[in-house]
């Protein structure tokens, strides 16, 4: 395990080499959050309610989207498929460590750097939302949501990693990362709360694992999930995770046999 700790340290060190990047992330977060406020203020000028959401509840949801995303987001599929296609994982195959675990650690180290910048911004914005828009957050629900985010993060990793391994068979597997992002926007609850869609669509969405990556932790943070429902949903989340992890193992086992290490 010590070697993975050193991977974490090395990744953190590498991410701090480029200070300009850190500044840009700061800017992006700030712009995203302020634009959300203006958008929904405008939307609620003529309507008191959108579905069951008033302005406070909607602002709370859209503040929680990037907040939860800061914990659950994964970006392996935007580079690992290309690395497999171009033979760049040869180095990883030649050393005694798990590529899956190192990928997870690498993402985690990026997350630590991102969070160190984003969390202060969220705290400021949450304070502004509270004082200006009366948007309230319950600390206990937030903490429970953070715990849920840990499971959601691992689920998201297992889905993303399995997608990446398709690159052993398909040269253009990298495009699946775009498909995944699009799917998350719709089925994950990033673009809109899933409880705003027609009931017929909700009945379909309930069978997707993507709702656990954003929508479920957000609802936990809002205190909108009952105790009983929380545990049944958590079990479903874990089942999806185990399923995708197993799929990943199978894809890896057969994929490395096909690996041709072209160019490396």
């Amino acid at each position: 395990m010590r070697k993975y700790y050193f991977f974490l340290k090395s990744n953190l060190a590498a991410s701090l080499e480029y200070r300009g990047n850190l500044l840009i992330w700061l800017l992006i977060e700030f712009i995203t959050l302020t634009s959300v406020v203006f958008l929904w203020q405008a939307a609620f000028r003529t309507n008191q309610l959108v579905g069951t959401y008033d302005l406070q509840k909607m602002l709370s949801y859209y503040l929680l989207v990037p907040f939860v995303g800061a914990f659950t987001s994964i970006y392996i599929s935007d580079h690992l498929p290309r690395r497999i296609k171009d033979g760049e994982i040869s180095k990883d195959l030649m050393q005694p460590y798990s590529l899956a675990f190192v990928s997870l650690i690498n993402q985690f180290s990026i997350k630590i750097t991102h969070l160190s910048i984003k969390l202060p911004i969220y705290a400021v914005v949450a304070a502004v939302f509270y004082h200006v828009f009366s948007v309230k957050f319950n600390v206990y629900f937030i903490l429970l949501a953070l715990l849920t985010c840990v499971f959601s993060y691992i689920l998201h990793f297992s889905i993303d990693y399995a997608l990446c391994l398709l690159a052993f068979w398909f040269d253009d597997a990298w495009s699946l990362s775009h498909l995944k992002m699009l799917t998350l926007l719709i089925l994950g609850g990033v673009s809109f709360p899933l409880d705003l869609v027609p009931k017929a669509m909700q009945a379909v969405f309930i069978y997707s694992p993507f709702r656990f990556i954003y929508y479920f932790p957000i609802k936990v943070a809002q205190g909108a999930i009952s105790f009983e429902l929380y545990f049944s949903e958590l079990l479903a989340l874990l089942a999806w995770t185990v399923g995708f992890l197993l799929l990943g193992r199978i894809l890896w086992r057969f994929g490395v046999r096909k690996y041709a290490a072209y160019g490396n």
Partner: protein
């Protein structure tokens, strides 16, 4: 049991053959032609501990593919491979800790960090005890004279400096088997020499088994007592370099400087003319007659200088492959 055992190794690929141009790309959306490439086609050889073997062949011969099968990167299409008693493709941790593959101009170091950070990470990956790591690092750094560069970002190093760091990174865990794929490619003459000395020294000190592929014949000449020649996926020669020279190049070269021009036919009467550009000339004569032919040249021609040489390594290798093609 030999350190490396290869029996009837085959590795075939299916390669997509795209037709040229935009029309070819559009056609490729609907129908694709694949053809089989026999990158390695039934080769067998064994290596004992401490051997330093040159693995020679033209581009596309199957050298790198063979190395990749030996280190477990590629799954063989058929055949058996054993390295240090392990099946390489199983990629067991204990196997990976004892081997290293270093490819010329391929970067394995962390680009944005100094090389020392990669060494530290490799120390943890290979679970090298700290004292051993420090001792090996000190020795390698001294041998390669890179102490001043350890804390410089890898992307700011020159190619030769990076290659030295790649070697250190690949050797920090003192592997028993080393695969060197064109390690001197792109390096200047001085650096190539330094690296060759280092590899020889490492082989002697640590009794590491080394397979070296290279297009630079100086690498082969200086380092390898044994050579394996491969062409179009098949082994064509596997023995000592001296035996190769004797079998393929049963001639010697006599180079001389003429004081006055002569007709080329005169030189052809003595031996096979390799080069004639007045005042210099080189002819090839049967090995056992080299002295006699030298005397003939001295008697028949007016010359100011004469030299008897062994054929160049490049020529020997070239002739070996030409003979195989015939």
């Amino acid at each position: 049991m030999s350190t490396i055992e290869v029996k009837n190794l085959k590795r075939y690929y299916k390669v997509y053959q795209k037709e040229e141009g935009l029309r070819g790309s559009i056609r490729g959306l609907f129908s694709r032609k694949y053809y089989d490439v026999k990158a390695v086609d039934d080769i067998s050889f064994d290596l004992e501990e401490g051997e330093l073997v040159g693995f020679i062949g033209p581009n596309g011969a199957g050298k790198t593919t063979t190395l990749k099968c030996l280190c477990g990167l590629l799954f063989p299409s058929s055949g058996n491979v054993s390295v240090l008693g392990y099946k390489p493709f199983d990629r067991k941790a204990n196997f990976l800790k004892q081997i290293s593959i270093i490819m010329g101009q391929k970067n394995q170091l962390w680009w944005d960090l100094p090389a020392i950070d990669t060494f530290l990470l490799n120390k943890e990956i290979y679970e090298v005890p700290h004292k051993q790591y420090q001792a090996v690092l000190d020795e390698l750094v001294e041998m390669l004279e890179v102490r001043d560069l350890l804390k410089v970002q890898v992307r700011k190093l020159s190619l030769g400096q990076r290659m030295k760091m790649e070697l250190i990174a690949g050797l920090i865990h003192s592997p028993k088997v080393l695969f060197l794929d064109e390690p001197t490619i792109g390096l200047d003459v001085l650096m190539q020499k330094k690296l060759r000395e280092f590899i020889k020294d490492y082989n002697t000190r640590y009794k590491a088994t080394i397979i070296l592929t290279s297009h630079y014949m100086e690498d082969v000449k200086e380092l390898c007592k044994r050579v394996i020649l491969i062409d179009r996926g098949s082994l064509i020669f596997d023995s000592s370099f001296a035996k190769l020279a004797k079998e393929i190049a049963d001639y010697k070269l006599i180079s001389f400087v003429l004081e006055e021009p002569v007709e080329i036919e005169q030189l052809q009467q003595i031996g096979v003319v390799k080069n004639y550009d007045f005042p210099g000339a080189t002819i090839a004569v049967p090995r056992e007659f080299s002295i006699k032919k030298s005397v003939e040249i001295l008697e028949k021609l007016k010359i100011s200088d004469l030299n008897i040489e062994e054929p160049k390594v490049e020529d020997i290798i070239r002739e070996a492959f030409s003979a195989e093609k015939r």
